[in-house]
């Protein structure tokens, strides 16, 4: 239903000018439907450029992107239609709100799809309930709400297009802990209930470890690691080397190991840390 295949994808900004800069080079990936993927990488590693190719906002310099076997850049129509199939939520999406009411803003995407009034209404209500926005807010101006509410409305604006693939670029940046948790819960619920593919660009390693079933690590415009959180976080030194953090539990485990406590296996959640420490304690007593 929504499988993404990326073949030999490269993108060069301002090609042919002195400002030429290769942002991503030869990326090959297959993301099956329904997967919850985390994209990691420090600023300028090419992940933002990469995600903008998945809904044809940027056209590849070379290579192609297939959605369900069809090249999304085939012609103008597929390039436009892919925007509803692959929903992209930018960083700080609340800065894109512009309509007079919350209702109209969430309905902007569906309206662009050319849907009827009733269909739009149904989708706005559905999207609003996914992100926990009460219908009482519908007639308010989106500009007078709090930061967390604005963010959720902006995300609802993308969810209202019912995309089979939902991509979010740092959805929790700049929010308080409660707001972060709420947004991550909303996204998980959308994925669970619709079976959509979800890609999240994140700097929060604990979230990535806890929620994602697959992590893709970008560095210098290429994919350097691709695997389950267990596989990726069992190589913490490499992550630190390319300027990324590791989950808190992994950091504690590394510190303990440095002090001479032998821990076994990959540690990236609190539970694993506890178990590993218990096991090590048991081994030391024997």
């Amino acid at each position: 239903m929504a499988e993404i295949i990326v073949e030999g994808l490269s993108h060069t900004y301002s090609a042919g000018t002195p400002f030429q800069k290769t942002a991503i080079e030869n990326i090959n990936l297959r993301i099956p439907q329904g997967q919850f993927v985390g994209l990691l990488g420090h600023t300028g590693s090419g992940k933002s450029t990469f995600v903008q190719h998945l809904n044809a906002l940027l056209q590849p310099t070379s290579g192609r992107v297939l959605l369900d076997g069809e090249d999304i850049n085939k012609d103008k129509k597929t390039r436009r239609d892919v925007k509803w199939k692959v929903g992209l939520v930018f960083q700080y999406p609340e800065y894109q709100l512009f309509e007079e009411t919350v209702y109209a803003d969430i309905g902007f995407g569906p309206k662009n799809m050319g849907l009827g009034k009733e269909e739009i209404d149904e989708r706005v209500r559905e999207a609003a309930s996914f992100v926990g926005v009460e219908p009482e807010l519908f007639e308010k101006s989106p500009l007078e709400l709090s930061g967390g509410q604005k963010r959720r409305i902006a995300i609802a604006g993308v969810i209202a297009m019912r995309p089979g693939v939902l991509i979010l670029d740092e959805p929790t940046a700049g929010l308080d802990p409660a707001g972060c948790r709420q947004i991550m819960d909303n996204i998980c619920r959308y994925q669970r209930e619709t079976g959509a593919t979800v890609l999240i660009v994140s700097h929060n390693m604990d979230d990535a470890a806890r929620l994602c079933e697959r992590l893709i690590v970008f560095d210098h415009g290429g994919v350097v690691m691709d695997g389950t959180p267990e596989e990726v976080f069992s190589r913490p030194q490499e992550l630190i080397q390319i300027g990324l953090a590791v989950p808190q539990s992994t950091a504690i485990a590394m510190a303990l190991q440095e002090k001479g406590l032998a821990l076994k296996g990959a540690v990236y959640t609190h539970e694993q840390l506890l178990m590993a420490v218990e096991a090590a304690k048991g081994a030391a007593l024997c």
Binding site: W84, Y95, Q96, N112
Partner: protein, 265 residues
Amino acid sequence: MLKDITLGQYFPGDSLIHKLDPRTKLIAVVLYIVALFQAKGWIGYGAVTLATLILMAISHISFGNIFKGLKPMLFIIVLTALLNIFYTTGTPVVEGWIITWEGIDRAVKMILRIVLLITGTFLLTYTTSPMALTDGLELLLNPLKKLHVPVHEMTIMMSMALRFIPTLIEETDKIMSAQKARGADFETGSLIQRAKALLPILVPLFVSAFRRADELAVAMESRCYHGGEGRTRMKQLHLAGRDYAALVVSALFLAGIIVLRHFGL
């Protein structure tokens, strides 16, 4: 695509022109423009053109950069030329034509005048950073403070506006991408539809411009900014020997052009 705008762009360098005091350059540009409008005959125009070419060579600004800046003016240049060719009375080029020798003469001079005018001002903005330019302007306009003209406030507004042009361009780019991701369409449809399609860009852009202005005002106040009264600057401007030399050369150049005009050249 929005990144390609070259408006008052500054090309850092260390040529003699780059090193001149911004005040010198501002005065020289004024003298240059007066000279340009004093030029009457072909010799006068030739002298100004030659001077411009020499200045371009000294400042290492390429023809390509100048032409890039001229492009948006192309329409006005062509229109002026056409109007002059067709609406000047005199001896026709061919018996019965409305195109006259006088018309062609005037059209070419008009083109030269516009191109030289733009080139001259570009030489100023290409070789002077916006900060230096506003600093120089403020010092030059200082005497007006006696007449209670808010010179400092005006120049700081100017430098802020210049400072925020690239930021706003970047922001516009981002907002456009975000709305495109929601299926907004800026490229097709009638003129009215396209004008309406700009709303999703303009509203967020204005909102963020106001937010930025607010934040900037708070940031300035929290660093005790209170206007120009008793304010010293980090970079003191000093007129060096080369500045006086440049001013003398500019003044002599203007005088020369006026003399030429007197003789109808």
